[in-house]
Subunit: 413 residues, 2 copies
Amino acid sequence: MICEILSVGTELLMGQIANTDAQYLSRRLSEYGVNVYRHTVVGDNPERVKLALNEALSRSDMVITTGGLGPTEDDLTKEMVGEYFGLPMELHQPSLDALTERMTRLHPHRKMTANNLKQAYFPKGALVLPNSRGTAPGCVVEAEGKSVAVLPGPPRELTAMFDESLEPYLREKTGLVIHSRFLSIFGVGESTVESILEDLFHLGSPTLALYCGPAEVQARLTVCLPVGEDPAPILDPVADQIQRRLGPSLYAQGRDASMARTVLSMLRERGEALCTAESCTGGLLSARLVEIPGASAVFTHGFVTYTPAAKQSVLGVPQDILEGPGPVSAPCARAMAEGALAASGADYALSVTGYAGPEGGTPEDPVGTVYIGLARKGGSLVKQFRFLGDRDWVRTLACVHALNMLREHLLDV
Amino acid sequence: MICEILSVGTELLMGQIANTDAQYLSRRLSEYGVNVYRHTVVGDNPERVKLALNEALSRSDMVITTGGLGPTEDDLTKEMVGEYFGLPMELHQPSLDALTERMTRLHPHRKMTANNLKQAYFPKGALVLPNSRGTAPGCVVEAEGKSVAVLPGPPRELTAMFDESLEPYLREKTGLVIHSRFLSIFGVGESTVESILEDLFHLGSPTLALYCGPAEVQARLTVCLPVGEDPAPILDPVADQIQRRLGPSLYAQGRDASMARTVLSMLRERGEALCTAESCTGGLLSARLVEIPGASAVFTHGFVTYTPAAKQSVLGVPQDILEGPGPVSAPCARAMAEGALAASGADYALSVTGYAGPEGGTPEDPVGTVYIGLARKGGSLVKQFRFLGDRDWVRTLACVHALNMLREHLLDV
């Protein structure tokens, strides 16, 4: 089934809000094997809404509209859908009753206006979808072999109406489910991943797509099957291929995978604890860890020592390191990690010190240079990195590389 | 000038990301009086990209595309634009040099692939727009009385390229400059700000718009003038009005204003130092401070004490507080702040402890309860907050409220 999403709202064209409605619908529709081929946004203008609706219906089996369902004069989506199919607008008594009840409760002294009443009218024969979070119900109109679902614009009303009414409708209509597998890859560029996996892009089923993050690539395998069919025989062999070709660069599987999640779960399995000592990342690394529910079992202490004096007093970095090689240096990263390990009693300490920019840096260590230290009982190591990008980007990369350094160490021991 | 935005990316149609690119562009274009009539999203499919591009160009003077500019096979936007106007693709030597330089620096041992090279080719005669945050440059193609701007999909690359290259292009094309004034307001709801400033929305020039952030509202005054005209006589009187009506709730002016920036600059003027002690925010508060360039003059130490044992060993929170009122309590927030003050020697310490959820909380202190402590030499105070929302939202609100608590204290003394 081919579907398009048509969003109506001048606030979208003014950039006041992002089209999260289209995102939500697309994500949910993909789960039902509904192929979304296009999103369109037009303003609250009858001619342009009509044109866009005609175009969308000419190309697809189903159109879902969002917005333009409220009580004001320029809310015209429902009326345009009726007009397209030549269906007159008819009063839907249960909607009028619900609207009256709601209005009386919220505004006991206000009279219903003609505009309010408009919300209880639908194209003849429409399936009305109740709105549990607002006044304007939606509807589905089926005619001429097409269906049009008309949903409200406010995201909390839209998501509730989808989940409560449109989802059951779709499940019955399609009998299909989408199955996906996500594989997260660290430290290999998108174009390299693409050339390593080149033949797998042409399998037909499953389909393979790549998505880029900071120093990461996520590969997604997708197959669409009738309800009840097992996707494993189709997805598993290809996932195994990818795993074999990428080796330890493939660090996790699953939709919600992240480097922090992977490292925390490796540590949790071993019953080991981690602490951090940060300078240029200023707490971002610890925040990454704490954002994973259950982090407290593994992550105990974080030290943000932004000044040389703090590095000395809290982590015991020796004066001669701070005055010699300086606070951005391999010896300092090592001393920070070792100091944090001693102060916390954790099993591992990660330290980060560098020049995030835009100022700072030296001829030898320009902006973007970051030293990452890893200390454990009985030893420590330091790596030097050169990251390109602005302050935020350098720090984001420093965090994922620090976590990956620990991951690689845990894989080896 | 009528404009459409055409976004290319299967990840948008799969609902993996929202189309924030179209939002950003629409917002910025509206400042230049460019009317955006439509957003369209299509997948990485040559035929559908071509069709959508033809349609968009038939309806408008300018089309801005986003996405499909990377090194992979299905990145075809630039090529489609060339094809539309019958322009051959030509090598752009400066782009190739920049690409080579970047690749050599990042991956000294990796060879450039044909796919990489593709990024240095543009439709003949195109104005190339450098990409300061990624490898793929964009371009503007002017032909047949239309212009097409081809921009990258990743939001951080897109926004930088717009600001650095497309905005100057638009300014020259339109002969107009937008002048804006930003006023940041803390702790007053959007609808309250709206009613306080109601008459100022109807001035015509400047225009006033409100944007909502976590516990904040940003008011923006905008006027569009021919190049060289002074905006101060139009903007200043209205900005002064807003300042008078909102009093100390208006905490900063300027596009890049943030509570962290305001607090840091207040402390810098006084020559005073700040440290932090965080539990549920896990380093987010310190990261907020460190992300401001020059923070090291003011922000010295951050302690992330996520476990009760860490609160005790690092900050000296007494055992009887941890066992009595517990780690999420007013006494614990106070002891954390006082402990951090003592350990760091700073002039002020902010502490945060709370239940960010989804688990945790007690009948008296449900999820969303956060205690914020402020210690200074000679005294300390604690406030209790109840925030509504998910884990991230609770922690974001906790950070801005902590900073505002210090700001209000500094205003009083």
